[in-house]
Amino acid sequence: MRLFTPTKPSAKTPDRFGPQTPPTPLERSSASAGPAARLARRASGQAGRQVFPRRRRPLPVVRRLVLVAVLFAALALISVSYRGGTPHMMRGPQTIVLDAVAPIERGASDAWRPLAQSWSWTTGLVHARHEESALRTRVDKLNGEVVHDHVLQDENTQLQAQLGLQKKGRYPDDYKPVSGNMIARPASQLDGSIVTDLGSGNGVAVGDPVMSARGLIGRVTAVSSNASTVALMIEPSQAVSATVLGHDASGVLEPVKNDGTPVMQLQYVQQSAEVHVGNVVVTSGWTSSSASGVHLQSLYPHGIPLGVVTNVGNDPADVYKNVQVTPYADFSRIDVVTVLEPEGAATTTYQQPQTPAVGAPASQVGVPAADTTKTHKAKAASHAAKHTKAAR
């Protein structure tokens, strides 16, 4: 079957509409569609091939003008979206559209979830056999640890009762967990963000930490009334101040690879700090006070699980220790998310990222790129008012 028309139109073809080029397939098929035309073609042995009428076509200059205009518009959007070298959302239009389509995305997501879980279950079977023996060994080891933990838990309960402390829950104090679903994620792995069905109507605000069942996954970067965008912590622009549980080692956790199985690096850990493979890394939740009386604290509260240390490099030539961390959260299979809403924090301000001085200790590294801070002046004022009222 011949696929292409000749590059030059036939000299016998009447040129009633100015410069002519062959019609598009749809316009040809729309003129020859229908059972009668199809039967006629089949009868004449032309099945799959169509005879089409000529039509008025745009001039090449019009075609090129449209292309240039569209590409110019796209480039303008790129320059607006990436001003300053970092990607931004166009707050107004994108928020409005996101609000409008969020219910549709949520419906599609809910409808698809059972099938997605079936697919996930089926693909998981492939790896199940390999994991079984390793898990059996681990279960035996953990059984012993559980007994030990029960003993420690009893002891801890008694000590807390003696000290008058409240027992901490799964989530940090002063934070209210709100759970929702992921309703969309970008096609490209270059965009380390997801969209959830939690919006300002649920009390979500920009900067709130977001967790999955396993640990921290990121923070809220944009909010509309019934949806929010979450920047995942595996995005190169994100960083979290972190500490190694049980050891005096802290630093800034940053992604070093973003390919679906991310590895992160705990930066600025002193060579003298003791870190071992298998250690648990959690958010450090630092606080600081300035001379002006403004109290700053990390956006992420202390104690949110981040990941486990999988490699420790001890090259004495390096200023800092090379600590690789594998996140607990499975970023390729995020479904249910929990946003931690701070209770009582009236205002939120963001501090510009600071570049740490070479050789500075981890505790003086400053504010990580995405570990934004909030002022608690208003909170302190409200507490003072409460105390005053109580005193009265």
């Binding site: 003129a31 020859s32 607006v80 490209s188 973003n258």
Partner: protein
């Protein structure tokens, strides 16, 4: 192009973008996901020509960015180019029933978008990590597109033929 056909084109790309961000981006086949939007754009462009293809690609890119809450621009830029060149190719075809053009257009379009998107993103924001696995993802997505190209083209063509009764820009059918 008639108003009905324009509305149909818009509906096609909006629905494709919604399905893409809500459902298809969660289906992982190896390191890749099916890319329905590119296939819909090349199918439309093959059928309606270069101008329609350019605008369809641009609108599809905008929809994709809006629904996934990512920066506008890169997807629209690449899909507009893909729509234009696919449309130009469609203009020189004598048939829309042969399987080779939509198959080749789907594969080439997906490859252009999958390779072009990291390049454009890296050029405008060098902090973005363009690792080797992105190229593997591009190849896998292209392979998936090769499988899906013909069914998607058939569906789009069937939908577009709903508006085939309007011949505002065509000469009378009697001239057949």
């Amino acid at each position: 192009m008639s108003v009905a056909r324009r509305i149909l084109l818009l509906a096609l790309v909006v629905v494709a973008a919604l399905i893409q961000v809500s459902i298809l981006d969660r289906i992982e086949i190896g390191p890749a996901n099916p890319d329905l939007v590119v296939l819909v754009v090349v199918s439309c462009a093959l059928l309606v020509g270069s101008i329609g293809g350019t605008i369809t690609g641009f609108v599809a890119g905008i929809c994709l960015s809006l629904f996934a809450a990512v920066p506008l621009g890169p997807s629209a830029f690449l899909l507009a180019i893909v729509g234009y060149w696919t449309g130009r190719w469609g203009e020189v075809l004598v048939t829309d029933e042969h399987p080779v053009p939509p198959l080749l257009a789907g594969v080439c379009g997906t490859l252009i978008v999958q390779i072009g998107l990291p390049i454009v993103s890296f050029l405008v924001s060098p902090s973005i990590d363009v690792s080797r696995d992105i190229w593997l993802q591009a190849l896998m997505t292209t392979a998936i597109s090769a499988v899906l190209a013909l069914p998607v083209y058939a569906l789009v063509r069937r939908a577009m033929l709903l508006t085939a009764g309007e011949r505002t820009s065509l000469e009378p059918a009697a001239e057949l």
